[in-house]
C-alpha cells in the first residue's frame, strides 16, 4: 500500500479527517502494544510447550516404558 499522498491515499473515502498526528501516534502505540501482545503470545506458546514436554516426561506412556523421547514440536 502506498501512503505517499498522506491520509487521502490511506483513507480515500473517509469523511472524517483522521489527522496526521493522530495517525502517527496510533501507529506508534499499535506497534508498542501489538509488540507486547506478540511477546505475550510467544510466551504463552513457550509455556505450553514446556508444559507439554514435562507432561510427556511424567506421562503414562513414560511409566509404561514405551513412550519414547518427548517431542518438542507438536
Amino acid at each position: 500500500m502506498k501512503f505517499g499522498d498522506g491520509p487521502r491515499a490511506i483513507f480515500p473515502r473517509a469523511y472524517l479527517d483522521p489527522g496526521i498526528g493522530s495517525m502517527i501516534i496510533q501507529v506508534l502505540i499499535g506497534a508498542l502494544v501489538g509488540g507486547l501482545i506478540a511477546l505475550r503470545m510467544l510466551w504463552d506458546r513457550i509455556k505450553k510447550r514446556i508444559k507439554d514436554f514435562l507432561k510427556a516426561l511424567t506421562g503414562p506412556g513414560r511409566r509404561g516404558g514405551g513412550g519414547g523421547a518427548p517431542q518438542l514440536v507438536p
Binding site: 500500500m1 502506498k2 501512503f3 505517499g4 498522506g6 491520509p7 490511506i10 483513507f11 473515502r13 473517509a14 469523511y15 472524517l16 479527517d17 483522521p18 489527522g19 496526521i20 498526528g21 493522530s22 495517525m23 502517527i24 501516534i25 496510533q26 501507529v27 506508534l28 502505540i29 499499535g30 506497534a31 508498542l32 502494544v33 501489538g34 509488540g35 507486547l36 501482545i37 506478540a38
Partner: protein, 458 residues
C-alpha cells in the same frame, strides 16, 4: 428532507417519512459496504449482541432517488439524549460499547469509520449504536480512521471527569466534535502523565497533533498490522476501564435519610405519587429534579418510560448505577440544569435539539423543586408556571413547599427574603392560568402539598 443532525457522512442520511417515522436513505456510494455489513454476518452479530439498533429495509420512495441505494427503517428510539447529559458511567459504557463494536467489526472484515458519542443512544437502559452506516470494509494495513474522534468524544472527557472534575462533561456542550486534546492535556493533572495510557492517548497524542498540524507529511510506509490495530483497541479499552469516578459529597446524598425522619413524609408522598400515576396512566414521564430517582422508579416500575433529570452529576451517577444493578429498562437518568436546560447546538443551532424541542412529556413530576427554582434561582412563579405549561402535554404532579418549611428556611438562611409573593395562594393562581387542579393533598406531617394538575387546552 434530511434531519438537521444528519449531513456529515455522504453514505446516507436520516429523514422523517410522511407517517412521522424516522427512515434512513442509504446512498449508492455506500452500497458495497452496506451489502458487506448485511451479508458478512456482522449486522446479525451486532444486533444479536445488542450493540447496534436493528432495522428493516422498506419499499419507500427515497427523498433523493438519484443517489439512493436503499431506504431502511431503524427501530425507533423513544428519547434522544446527548453526551453532555450523561453521567460518568453512561459515557464510559458508551465508550466501551464503541470499542466492542469495533472489535466485532474487525472480525468480520469491517471497521468503524467514525466513533462519535452522538452515534450512541440509551435504549431500554443500555447504550446502543444507532448509526447503521458507520461500518466500512477494512483494508489490512490501515490505521483506525476514527481514533482521533474516539479520543476527543470519549477518552478525553472521561479522563477529565475522573481526574479533574465530573462537571467537565459540560465541555462536550461547547465542543460539538469532542474535547480538543490540547485542552484536555492542559486541564488534566500532572500525575496523568505518569499513566501510560493517558500519556500516549492524550498528552503525546495532543503533542503529535500540534506538531503535524497543517504540515504536508509523507507518511509512506506507515502501516498498521492487524495485531497492532487490535493492540490499539485493547489499549483504549484498558484506558477507559482504568478511569473511575466515585460520586461523593453530593448535596443530596443525605437528603432521603433526613426526609425519612420527617413523620412518614416519604412514605405518604410515595403513596400519593403512585395513586396519581395510576389514575392518569401517562404515556411517559419526565421527573425533574429527580435526585437519585426514588420517585422516578414509582413510574418506571409501572412500565412507564421515565426520564429522570437532575442537575447533580453525582445523583445521576448513583441513579444510573442503580438502573444497571437492577437491569431496569424503563428509566433513563440524565444530567440537566433546569435553570439552563440543554440548548439547541451545532450547525445552524439545529444539529442537537434543545430540551424543549424534545418534549413535551405526557406527564411531568416536579417534587420538592419549585422552592429551589423560586428561592435559590429568583425565578418568579409566573415564569415557572409558563415553563411547565411548555414542557407538559397533559399532566403535572407538583409539590409546593412553603417558606415555613425547614428546607425552604435553609435556602433563606444566608440571604434576604425578597420573595413576598412566594406563597401557596400565588402558586395556585399562577399555575391555575395553565392548569386545572384535579387533586391535592397535604403530605405527612409536613406543611407541603402535592398537586395533580391537568394542562388546560390552548
Amino acid at each position: 428532507m434530511a434531519l438537521p443532525s444528519s449531513f456529515r457522512d455522504p453514505s446516507g442520511f436520516l429523514f422523517r417519512g410522511e407517517d412521522g417515522a424516522i427512515y434512513r436513505q442509504v446512498n449508492l456510494i455506500y452500497r458495497e459496504d452496506y451489502d458487506h455489513l448485511m451479508s458478512s454476518g456482522l449486522y446479525d452479530s451486532l444486533v444479536k449482541e445488542g450493540l447496534l439498533i436493528g432495522h428493516e429495509e422498506v419499499d419507500l420512495e427515497p427523498p433523493r432517488p438519484e443517489i439512493a441505494y436503499k431506504v431502511i427503517k431503524p427501530e425507533p428510539i423513544p428519547f434522544i439524549s446527548y453526551p453532555y447529559e450523561w453521567c460518568f458511567s453512561q459515557l464510559k459504557d458508551a465508550a466501551l460499547l464503541t470499542l466492542k463494536a469495533q472489535r466485532v467489526a474487525l472480525e468480520f472484515g469491517m471497521s468503524l469509520k467514525d466513533a462519535s458519542a452522538y452515534n450512541v443512544q440509551f435504549v431500554n437502559g443500555r447504550p446502543m449504536l444507532i448509526d447503521t452506516l458507520s461500518f466500512e470494509r477494512h483494508r489490512e494495513g490501515r490505521p483506525w480512521v476514527a481514533y482521533r474522534q474516539f479520543c476527543q468524544h470519549f477518552l478525553a472527557p472521561l479522563a477529565l471527569m475522573a481526574h479533574r472534575d465530573a462537571r467537565l462533561s459540560q465541555l462536550l456542550r461547547v465542543y460539538v466534535d469532542g474535547v480538543p486534546l490540547d485542552l484536555a492535556s492542559s486541564l488534566l493533572p500532572l500525575r496523568t502523565r505518569l499513566m501510560p495510557s493517558l500519556l500516549f492517548h492524550i498528552h503525546l497524542h495532543a503533542r503529535a497533533q500540534r506538531r503535524f498540524a497543517g504540515r504536508a507529511v509523507d507518511v509512506s510506509g506507515l502501516r498498521m498490522g492487524r495485531l497492532s490495530l487490535l493492540g490499539l483497541i485493547e489499549s483504549l479499552e484498558s484506558a477507559v476501564r482504568g478511569l473511575r469516578w466515585k460520586p461523593s459529597g453530593t448535596e443530596w446524598a443525605e437528603y432521603y435519610e433526613e426526609a425519612a425522619l420527617r413523620g412518614g413524609y416519604l412514605q405518604h408522598k410515595s403513596r400519593l405519587v403512585a395513586e396519581f400515576l395510576d389514575r392518569i396512566g401517562p404515556m411517559d414521564v419526565w421527573d425533574l429534579g429527580a435526585n437519585v430517582g426514588v420517585f422516578s422508579r414509582i413510574a418506571s416500575d409501572r412500565g412507564i418510560p421515565t426520564i429522570s433529570f437532575d442537575a447533580d452529576p453525582a445523583a445521576v451517577e448513583k441513579n444510573y448505577l442503580e438502573c444497571r444493578r437492577r437491569g431496569e429498562t424503563r428509566i433513563l437518568p440524565l444530567v440537566l440544569d433546569l435553570t439552563n436546560p440543554s440548548p439547541a447546538i451545532g450547525w445552524g443551532n439545529e444539529e442537537r435539539a434543545s430540551l424543549m424541542e424534545r418534549g413535551p412529556a405526557d406527564a411531568v413530576m416536579a417534587l420538592a423543586l419549585i422552592h429551589h427554582l423560586a428561592i435559590s434561582n429568583n425565578l418568579p412563579l409566573d415564569r415557572i408556571a409558563r415553563f411547565f405549561k411548555d414542557i407538559c402535554r397533559r399532566w403535572l404532579i407538583v409539590e409546593f413547599v412553603p417558606k415555613e418549611d425547614p428546607q425552604a428556611r435553609r435556602l433563606l438562611a444566608s440571604r434576604e427574603d425578597i420573595f413576598p409573593g412566594y406563597n401557596q395562594r400565588a402558586f395556585e393562581e399562577e399555575f391555575g392560568r395553565y392548569f386545572s387542579i384535579e387533586d391535592s393533598s397535604g403530605i405527612g406531617d409536613s406543611q407541603r402539598t402535592l398537586y395533580l394538575m391537568r394542562r388546560l387546552r390552548g
